[in-house]
Structures are given as C-alpha cells and as structure tokens.
Symmetry: C2
Subunit: 186 residues, 2 copies
C-alpha cells in the first residue's frame, strides 16, 4: 500500500498550460499533455490499465474536482474519491464510487483514503494537492509521464516542494510519452 502522485508533465515541467478553466481544464495548450492517454499503443494502454488496477482510493483538490467532473462524468478512478475543500458538502454518489468532501486537511483525507483503499494504493491528483503532500512528506512514489513538448508557460508541477533523494523503479518508453516511476527515499 502506497501513496503515489500520478501526473503528466511537459519536458519543461508544466502540468497544465496557463489560464485553467472549466472550458479548458488543462489550460491553454495543456491538452497536449494528455494525448498519450488516448494513444493506440500497448505500452501506454498497459500503463493506464496498471494504474487503474492499483488505485484503491483517490485524494484530489477542489479545483481538480471542479474542472474535471464534466470530463470524467464519474469518479476519476473507480474508487472512493476524497476532495480537499473548505466547504462541507454531502457525499456525492457516482456510477463507480462516491466523492467525499474533506474539510479538515490533507492528512485526514489521506487517513480516510488509506482506510478505504485497503491493500490497494492511494493516488494523489492535482498540482496543489501533490505539492502540499510533497511538502508534508506524505508521498511514497512519483509516477511521472513526460510528454514530448515544451509548453513554455503554465502551472508548474514542482515548486519548492522539498529536497528528496529518489530511487528509480521503472522507466517505460512509448512512442508518445516516457513513463517514469520513482520511490521517494526518506
């Protein structure tokens, strides 16, 4: 059981373009980052399937929830999903699982997510959530997809998020993206 961040970044380190909105949830030019998810090759397909199979619970930020919900039409993974927010809301039951709104911080969200995940992993979604978890030392693994593009501007994935030695677990190369998995050494 591990807590992992799962995110696609450009070679210049952006996880979204500038001007994120509900209309452009990945920001201007940022949809380019996720092209690999729809690529028709076995490497990428099997990485997507492996990730889906590993996830037992999700912790995501409010903004990721707001801009992503229409696209997903469901929880982002078929697993209980804990939304970090300042505003309490009743649980929202979706097709695969429920959204739960957590108002008492990322540590408590992770405690609930770990309990819900059982033997499976907890995935962190969204820039601010991953950054906060890194700063608080709550991340076990990084799953980074490096998309072959320089965005030049946008939302940085890493921004003074702490000094950690990493242990490479796997690098998998597809025609569309490079999948890099690291363990965070503490």
């Amino acid at each position: 059981m591990a807590v992992f961040a799962h995110v696609t970044v450009s070679v210049d380190g952006y996880m979204a373009g500038p001007d994120i909105s509900a209309q452009e949830p990945m920001g201007r030019g940022g949809a380019r980052l996720h092209e690999w998810i729809f690529a028709d090759n076995e490497v990428d397909k099997s990485r997507v399937q492996d990730t889906f199979a590993a996830v037992g619970a999700v912790v995501l930020g409010r903004r990721t929830f707001d801009v992503g919900l229409d696209e997903w039409g469901d929880t982002p993974y078929p697993a209980p999903s804990f939304v970090l927010t300042h505003r309490a809301e009743p649980d929202r039951e979706m097709k695969s699982a429920s959204f739960h709104f957590v108002t008492d911080g990322i540590g408590n969200a992770l405690t609930r997510a770990r309990a819900a995940a059982g033997d499976k992993d907890v995935v962190l979604m969204g820039g601010e959530t991953i950054q906060q978890a890194l700063r608080d030392g709550l991340v076990d693994r990084l799953n980074l997809q490096i998309a072959p593009v320089l965005l030049g501007d946008g939302l940085r994935m890493f921004d003074e998020t702490g000094h950690y030695e990493l242990k490479p677990l796997a690098v998998t190369v597809s025609p569309t993206v490079t999948h890099m998995q690291y363990e965070i050494v503490r």
Copy 2:
C-alpha cells in the same frame, strides 16, 4: 550538424542548487546532479563518450566559464569554446583547444561556433545560454539527463523558454540517470 543543449536536471527541473559560487559551481546540493558522469556503468560511459565525440565547438555563458574553469583545467570539451561575455578578452589557449570571448551576442557566437565545428555539432552549456538560445529559436536538439533527485530549490533549467513540440529521438536508462534526447520541431 546540429546545435544541441546538453544538461543534467533534477526531476523537479533544477540544473543547479541555490547559491552558485566558484566554491560550489553547482550550487548547494547541486553536485548530486553530476554524479552519473563518474558512474561506473557502460550506459553512462558510452553516453559521455558519444557526446564528446559529437562536439565540434562549444558555446557557453560567462558564469559557466567562471565557475567551471578550475574544475575543467581545460576547455570543457576538446573543441573551440566560445564564451558569451560583455568584456572583450584575448583568446586563451588551453591544452585541447582555445577559449574565444564573444561580445556581440549569441547569434554571432553560434555563427563562429558552427564554422569551427565543421561537420560536428555545437553544444550549448549553461542555464542562461540555453534559455536564451531556446527563446531565440536557435536550438535543434535537447540532450537531457534526468537525475533521480528532487532538489526543491535552485536554478531552473526551463523558465518561459518558449512553446515547442518535441520529437523523441532516444531514451537510454542507466542505474544512475535517464538520458533523454529530443529534436525541437519548428
């Protein structure tokens, strides 16, 4: 013949730690990035050898020259090396080749470097030099080594350096670093 940037970055995109000085040319904690260069494995050795064999001329920034000269005790590669500077200086002859000081900009430095390189490639060294060349559209290829560390702070490699689609040329994995080569599509 190509102009390529050659640089090692941390997973969070820093090419040096904070507080760069002659005593710590890679900044605080930044020497970690270059450990792979001294690694005893065939993948890294052959990547170093291939790069040395490809380089016919060097363009580097003044700061890189100032902080690197003691460590190199020579030109950084055995090839004519053009230093971008505001202060004219006579050529400086080293063991393998000479340093030439260029005061009329990166475009002119690259023209002289291309002429000196013949059929070989021109390598760009140093953060500001690479960033400026990217902004001016003067880079053909990126050779990035991704070291398995999050530095958390330091000198960013990419910083609003333009929007470019990339074409992956090769990804080579060693136990110590991931070598990524991209062509910049224009």
